[in-house]
Amino acid sequence: MESKPSNLEIKSSSQLVQGIQAGLPIFLGYFPIAIAFGTLAVQAQLSWTEAVLMSLIVFAGASQFVGVSMFLAGAGAAQIIATTFFLNLRHLIMSLAVNDQMRHFSGGWKGFLSFFITDETFALLTLGRGDHRSERRTPAYMAGLMITAYLGWVTGTAVGGLGAGFIPVEITTAMTVGLYGLFIGLLVPPARKSLNFGIIAVSSMILNWALGLFMDAGWAIVLATIFAAGLGIILIKEDV
């Protein structure tokens, strides 16, 4: 009997596999963009190790591109770090929503998994399909999804840092559109089911565009998200 895995173990290993499967689209989306990042970083005179280390411990695409570009332009350390902070502040809001799903996890799991919150992992975890939240949101499922995405980013950086520039820029553009495809594909089905969520999303788009006219994109996204989500307080009738 002892050699037989318990129900709990079977459940958590299949949860892990489900998480990995759910994370694969992000892996595929990240990989070519990370190759472009690795290439850019090495061109900016970072060593291969530094480029890979950045992807390993920062794991935030847009800010890594910006950071390396600033490094290339001769910006100071404080300037680069401050810009990174403001660019990634939106993850605070996203982390609220993700941590809301992790209420029943241990503190260690929450601290560990929070590291992997990106625009894309957040989007999949909160709006991914077949969503029976309380059932599916186990640490194993989330770790599978998030670490799969992470590996796409880190391995792509490692590959890009080796052979500078073997992915043509057109492909990088097309793959970036693919990540927008991920966002749109996750947003449309629930927005169709509930008009309120569609209204919130469209309001946020308009607000973000308007705010972007007189502040930088990082702040515009944070403020648009905070205020447009505030519409939900008025629009959502049932107690949640």
Partner: protein
């Protein structure tokens, strides 16, 4: 050495905002309005991430991003799997780049 410091600094200021909700979220029982706000965040955040960013994937060619976004929109109306939605938007952009841009 300086590069290493910058990378570690970037890592810290990126992780701290991600970590904060893990530290305090479950210590409070939030009122109903806050829970509604929390529930609305994914829709608001995705809206803001999509627009106008999708138009800027190729700075001089906003139509390219628009075409990819519209394709994703149409495919997601068909309730296709997310990977197919992504593939469709990538494919239309590659085709447009090849023939027009």
């Amino acid at each position: 050495m300086k590069v290493l410091l910058v990378i570690v600094g970037m890592a810290l200021v990126t992780y701290i905002p991600r970590l904060l909700p893990a530290l305090f979220l479950d210590r409070f029982q939030f009122p109903a309005w806050f829970r509604k706000w929390l529930q609305s965040i994914p829709y608001a955040a995705l809206g803001a991430l999509i627009f106008p960013g999708v138009l800027l994937v190729e700075k001089d060619q906003p139509l390219l991003g628009l075409a990819g976004g519209l394709m994703a929109f149409l495919l997601s109306l068909l309730n296709l799997h997310i990977t197919l939605v992504m593939a469709g938007s990538i494919l239309i952009v590659i085709l447009l780049q090849y023939f027009f841009f």
